[in-house]
């Protein structure tokens, strides 16, 4: 006798929990390597990992987990940021009060705000360190040039996120830092004014108005910064992270010593055992064959040195993530994010300091806004981006400093970079600069010849000297990169600790004049 309709339904009802589970978890219990691999590639979020990971990539010193740490900070920032948005009101008349509410009234609002602030700082630190690790291990080399550029994009978006977030509390710190920042965007006027062409060609005024929607920091600026901070930049960041990770997989996982350096998709060329293709073979077929021959063959050869990504990689990632959460929360409990008085367009903060990672820039800007705020950063960004294209030597990736010579060059460059940066700060502090010596000097000279531009030129000269002496572009790149790291550290330290009211030099904050 056939079952009744009710019985069929009751059976389905009984099987409901099992069917639900089976549709959510589409693989066996993750106890064997096979079922774990299945788990990794049948899950959208896990499948950004390869099912197996090379042992060398898992070593702590290979990455120090820095990329994952940056990703973790981003996740923390997303969660805490959405929570802050529940109360924050992006209007000049409400923003400050809503920040105060979050800080003093909203349940756990203060902690959420502090964690958001601290993981933002942490993220900047970690991204810079990550870039250093990628650079010093030569991991930007073929085929990873493109991913280096994607990384540069992530770096810039990270800084832009911090900068736009800085305005939102609408306190004194926010208002004056953004006033200065927006005027830096307007600083090409320095040059166009000297040349007398501002009336016809005014890129400075254009970019400033684009940023602020006005000539001064006000409601339009707040609206724009809010839009960028909560929508545009996080979306751009998420998209770039997607590309970054996808490229890591397509470039054959992390670079490591001992694998052949092959350009993406050109694997077939370098393998002498493959039959050569006739010159007139259709290119489409050629491309397909390369993918198959290049990647699969390589993975097969190395299979012994890999371990399943679940649990080895996932566990490592979880540890890094938890470390970031732990650090942000502990710092958030110990130290409050600052909230100064309500923004007042008539009284600047004295000293008005940007967030720490922009203080090196502020030091440069205190010599010339146009040179220090736009030209030098542009040179640095373009220079960093071009590294993989100008240094084509095939050092194996994953070896710090590419060996002993590189270590020596890095050490010497560190000394040189620190000395030059200290001089660049000390000379004007003690002896003044062009305008103190020749009061009527043209602004053109102040723009062109100032401690910032001289420092940049000295670093370039040092790198060229290294290139001449060693005839190695990799060593010259190490020299230049190390110099800029040194310059960044010194100027940031000076800006943080040695600059007081009127941007004057003080050995200690206790020497600041009392007002």
């Amino acid at each position: 006798m056939s079952k009744s309709g009710i019985a069929i339904f009751a059976e389905n009802l009984r099987a409901l929990p099992r069917h639900l589970r089976e549709s959510f978890v589409r693989h066996d219990r993750p106890v064997s390597a096979r079922s774990r691999s299945q788990a990794v590639f049948s899950n959208l979020f896990l499948h950004i990992h390869a099912t197996r990971t090379h042992l060398q990539s898992l070593r702590l010193t290979a990455t120090f987990g820095l990329g994952i740490a940056a990703t973790s900070c981003f996740i923390i920032l997303l969660v805490t940021g959405v929570l802050l948005m529940v109360y924050y009101a992006p209007s000049t008349s409400l923003a400050y009060d809503s920040m105060k509410d979050i800080h003093f009234v909203v349940p756990s609002g203060r902690l959420v705000r502090n964690v958001h602030r601290w993981s933002a700082h942490l993220m900047v630190v970690v991204v810079i360190l990550h870039m250093c690790r990628v650079f010093y291990t030569a991991s930007y080399k073929t085929p990873r040039e493109f991913n280096w550029l994607v990384g540069m994009g992530l770096f810039i978006v990270t800084l832009a996120l911090s900068f736009t977030g800085y305005l939102l509390p609408w306190d004194q710190l926010a208002f004056w830092a953004i006033t200065i920042g927006a005027n830096i965007a307007g600083s090409p006027r320095e040059l166009t004014d000297v040349l007398g062409i501002t009336a016809y060609f005014d890129p400075g005024g254009f970019s400033k108005q684009l940023l602020l929607g006005a000539n001064e920091v006000g409601q339009d600026a707040l609206t724009r910064f809010y839009l960028l901070h909560v929508m545009v930049l996080p979306l751009a960041f998420a998209a770039l992270i997607g590309v970054h990770f996808w490229r890591i997989r397509k470039d054959g996982g992390l670079g490591r010593p001992g694998i052949a350096q092959t350009a993406a998709g050109k694997g077939a060329d370098t393998d002498p055992n493959l039959p050569t293709l006739p010159a007139d073979a259709p290119t489409k077929t050629y491309g397909l064959m390369c993918v198959v021959a290049g990647k699969t063959a390589a993975t097969d050869l190395e299979i012994d040195e890999t371990v399943p990504s679940w649990p080895h990689l996932l566990r490592a990632e979880l540890v890094v993530f938890m470390a970031c959460v732990f650090l942000s929360v502990v710092l958030g409990i110990v130290a409050d994010a600052p909230l100064k008085e309500l923004a007042n367009p008539n009284i600047p903060e004295n000293p008005a300091k940007a967030p720490w990672y922009f203080l090196g820039l502020q030091e440069m800007v205190s010599y010339s806004a146009f040179m220090g705020g736009l030209i030098i950063p542009a040179i640095v960004v373009v220079g960093l981006g071009l590294i993989p294209y100008l240094d084509r030597e095939d050092d194996p990736p994953g070896v710090y400093f590419s060996g002993r010579n590189g270590r020596a060059v890095a050490l010497k460059s560190l000394l040189f970079g620190v000395t030059a940066a200290v001089l660049a700060v000390a000379v004007p502090v003690n002896f003044g600069w062009l305008r103190n010596w020749f009061p009527d000097i043209s602004q053109l000279w102040v723009i062109l010849v100032n401690p910032g531009s001289l420092l940049t030129a000295a670093y370039a000269a040092w790198s060229i000297r290294t290139l001449q002496k060693t005839r190695s572009t990799r060593l010259a790149a190490i020299a230049l990169f190390t110099c800029f790291v040194a310059g960044f550290l010194i100027t940031t330290y000076v800006g943080m600790n040695l600059r007081g009211p009127n941007w004057d030099f003080y050995w200690s904050q206790s020497d600041w004049p009392a007002h």
């Binding site: 005027n183 684009l210 929607g213 006005a214 367009p345 205190s366 305008r435």
Partner: protein, 155 residues
């Protein structure tokens, strides 16, 4: 004839495909180009920068007074009345008055009593602003209008 068309004939299908692709690209590109004009304001949201100072006899020669909330310094001399903008020409902080002239808290620019740059990164001296009188004789400053340094309004 030995033009390129002869040596590399393009298939009709390819031609139509390319034509379609380029038409789409130009249409979308043009639309985007039209839209990126949006963030550049054509009318700035600012209030008028003209404000009333008061009667000339409130500023006898020798006075020098900061107008609260306007970031403008009014100086009165025997040769007339002038207004100086206190917005630093470097990056827009507000300079403060001292014995020697003016100094900026942000990056240490210094100006003499007439607003000429003497030290620091500011590219030029402080702005002198237009002073005029309304029909009732009261003084008006237009902070949006710059005049040559050394211009005094004769009462």
């Amino acid at each position: 004839m030995s033009g390129r068309l002869e040596s590399e004939p393009i298939a009709r299908r390819d031609f139509l495909g390319l034509a379609g692709l380029w038409t789409t690209a130009i249409a979308i590109g043009g639309a985007l180009l039209g839209m990126v004009r949006l963030p550049k304001p054509s009318v700035l949201p600012e209030a008028s920068r003209r404000f009333r100072l008061g009667r000339p006899d409130e500023f006898p020669p020798g006075t020098s007074k900061v107008i609260a909330g306007q970031n403008v310094l009014v100086v009165s001399k025997p040769q007339g009345i002038a207004a100086l903008s206190l917005v630093c020409t470097h990056l827009g902080c507000i300079v403060s008055k001292n014995e020697a002239g003016f100094s900026c808290p942000c990056h240490g620019s210094a100006f003499d009593g007439d607003g000429r740059i003497v030290a620091g990164p500011a590219p030029r001296g402080l702005r002198w602003l237009q002073v005029s009188a309304a029909v009732d004789g009261r003084l008006i400053v237009n902070a949006g209008n710059e005049v040559d340094p050394g211009t005094y309004y004769r009462v």
